[in-house]
């Protein structure tokens, strides 16, 4: 219970210090809105096919925007040392950092979803599953950002690495092009990326078309990504602390 409280305090501080600031909020909201309208005006009838992907992209970019640099940034200004001095397990620090960026991503994504659903004439077929997919995906994407942040030394390296992961995902994860229609070996790469399962899971919930795999598999795989990326981040973070402090 104490540990959970401290996770909450760390994430609350990060929300106030980094996430709930006008530049990040406007970037988080504007980018997906621009994408949606660009696609809508191009093909209003086809918008329903791309909305799951656009929601997935919104979540990816909003969750990783600060997560990828937060630890590196705090290390540079000496603030990370403050956390390492406190009676906190390393996992608590990572949980706290992850929760902050996940919450931000969820807020942005739910805002966009609420905006999209009435305008685009969408309906959420499985609301409970929709929420679980968004939460698991948010955690997975935030952890991906945290993994980058603990793996690099400088802020600019973190920004470069996060774009190295994020931008290919736009084209490989079924956002605009169905994964099964991609030439080999791209579908293999797609299966290794969490956004693929986010988009597929959201298709179950928002679209009448045929998703790739059953919904429960999307959920299970996303959970697997969360566990795997967290374990990897924790291991790398502990090693870096040992080396650099």
């Amino acid at each position: 219970m104490e540990e959970l409280k401290k996770v909450y305090f760390i994430s609350k501080k990060d929300m106030g210090a980094y996430y709930l600031k006008p530049p990040l909020i406007s970037w988080g909201l504007m980018l997906p809105i621009v994408f949606v309208f660009a696609f809508y005006f191009r093909n209003p009838m086809g918008i329903k096919e791309v909305v799951p992907g656009l929601i997935g992209l919104t979540l990816l970019f909003s969750c990783t925007s600060m997560a990828a640099i937060v630890i590196t940034f705090e290390k540079r200004i000496g603030a990370l040392e403050r956390l390492l001095l406190a009676p906190l397990e390393i996992r608590t620090i990572l949980f706290g950092k992850t929760l902050g960026s996940t919450l931000f991503g969820l807020i942005i994504t739910f805002c966009i979803t609420i905006f999209l659903i009435p305008i685009m004439g969408l309906s959420v077929n499985h609301p409970f599953s929709f929420v679980i997919i968004i939460i698991l995906s948010g955690l997975a994407f935030s952890l991906l950002g945290i993994l980058i942040s603990v793996g690099v030394k400088e802020v600019f390296e973190a920004m470069t690495m996060s774009n190295f992961f994020r931008f290919p995902m736009i084209f490989l994860c079924g956002v605009f092009f169905p994964v099964p229609s991609m030439p080999f070996p791209l579908p293999v790469l797609s299966c290794l990326l969490p956004l693929t399962y986010t988009v597929d899971g959201l298709r179950h919930c928002l679209w009448e078309g045929k998703p790739m795999i059953p919904l429960f598999l999307d959920l299970l795989i996303l959970l697997g990504f969360v566990v795997l990326i967290f374990a990897l981040s924790l291991s790398i973070f502990k090693r870096r602390i040992h080396q650099e402090f």
């Binding site: 501080k13 200004i77 000496g78 603030a79 403050r82 906190l88």
Partner: protein, 324 residues
């Protein structure tokens, strides 16, 4: 009094560089214990190993009965650290920084804000409590960082070069705060390269040079190491290079410390060398403005024990980048 800190053969290598060389010491509960040495001596590395920030290469450190490598979280509950760079959160106000530290240290909610406000008042920060940390002066930042280290009522306070970079008034105020904290039963472990500060504050002093402990004792006992040595202090209107050279080769003088307007001689035969010194100074055309005989200071003992020039101890390390 039992030892609240026990360090045994603590060692740290950075690559092939030995930063801390098998240091061992004990700190009694309620005392102010000082680590004194020049920059690069291993003081900060030692403190960082003791608070669990840096992994030792070998050796053990027990803080209030807990092994720092095996129970780091338990150790951190009982200690507060004021690092060399005041690294609280720039965007948070003074009060919010203390409240946040209270949250991280598990201070109960009902107590947190009251304790933060109490520390703000105790450390003379009331009119600055709503200012962001980045807008505070260096001296106020340091005070707030000490307050933050006390929010959770630690048993031991670690201070790493607490007065470095501060103006004289701020440094004096801070030393007064340290002494008042000791009266409340706090055990204080501090590192410094200011010899007078160590002498004024510490019950026991460790002199450490190049990672190795040279002596552990009270300031009085350390000074008594040079008891047989007498000090002659001569104030001059000017000191020429020629005078310096001649004085250096004079017999009967153990050590010379040359300042801008005066020279301090360490000798075992003050009655014999004094007339020769005066004669030489007059021959060189310099005018004696003052002449005193002194009992050895901690600075003299330091120079004798380490062989280092005490001027080396007056050089501050370049400040690291950070919120300060």
């Amino acid at each position: 009094m039992d030892a609240i800190i026990q360090v045994n053969e603590l060692t740290k290598f950075y690559g092939t560089t030995l930063a801390v060389d098998h240091t061992s010491f004990q700190v009694k509960e309620g005392e102010i214990f000082g680590f004194l040495g020049p920059n690069g001596a291993g003081k900060t590395t030692t403190i960082r190993m003791m608070v669990g920030l840096t992994q030792p290469s070998s050796g053990t450190a027990w803080i209030d009965g807990h092994d720092v490598t095996k129970e780091p979280v338990e150790v951190k509950k009982t200690i507060g650290l004021v690092p060399e760079t005041s690294n609280l959160y720039s965007e948070l106000t003074a009060l919010d920084n203390l409240i946040y530290q209270g949250e991280l240290y598990g201070v109960p909610r009902k107590e947190r804000k009251n304790q933060a406000i109490h520390l703000i008042e105790e450390f003379g920060l009331k009119e600055h409590q709503d200012k962001p940390f980045q807008k505070l002066s260096r001296g106020l930042k340091r005070r707030l960082t000490i307050a933050a280290a006390l929010i959770h009522h630690p048993k031991i306070l670690f201070l790493d070069e607490p007065t470095t970079g501060l103006d004289v008034m701020s440094a004096r105020g801070l030393r007064k705060l340290i002494l008042e904290s000791k009266k409340k039963g706090l055990t204080i472990f501090l590192t410094t390269h200011y010899i007078p500060e160590a002498e004024a504050l510490c019950d026991h002093i460790v002199i450490i040079v190049e990672g190795k402990i040279r002596i552990i004792d009270t300031p009085e006992n350390i000074k008594s190491q040079v008891k047989e040595v007498e000090i002659l202090e001569v104030g001059l209107d000017r000191i020429t290079e020629d005078l310096k050279k001649k004085l250096l080769f004079m017999e009967g003088i153990e050590k010379i410390l040359i300042a801008e307007k005066g020279i301090r001689f360490q000798t075992k035969s003050i009655d014999q060398v004094t007339p020769h010194i005066i004669k030489l100074i007059e021959e060189q055309g310099a005018k004696i403005q003052s002449i005193n005989t002194l009992s050895p200071s901690l600075e003299d003992a330091f120079v004798r024990i380490t062989g280092l020039d005490s001027e080396l101890m007056k050089i501050d390390k370049p400040m690291k980048a950070g919120p300060e």
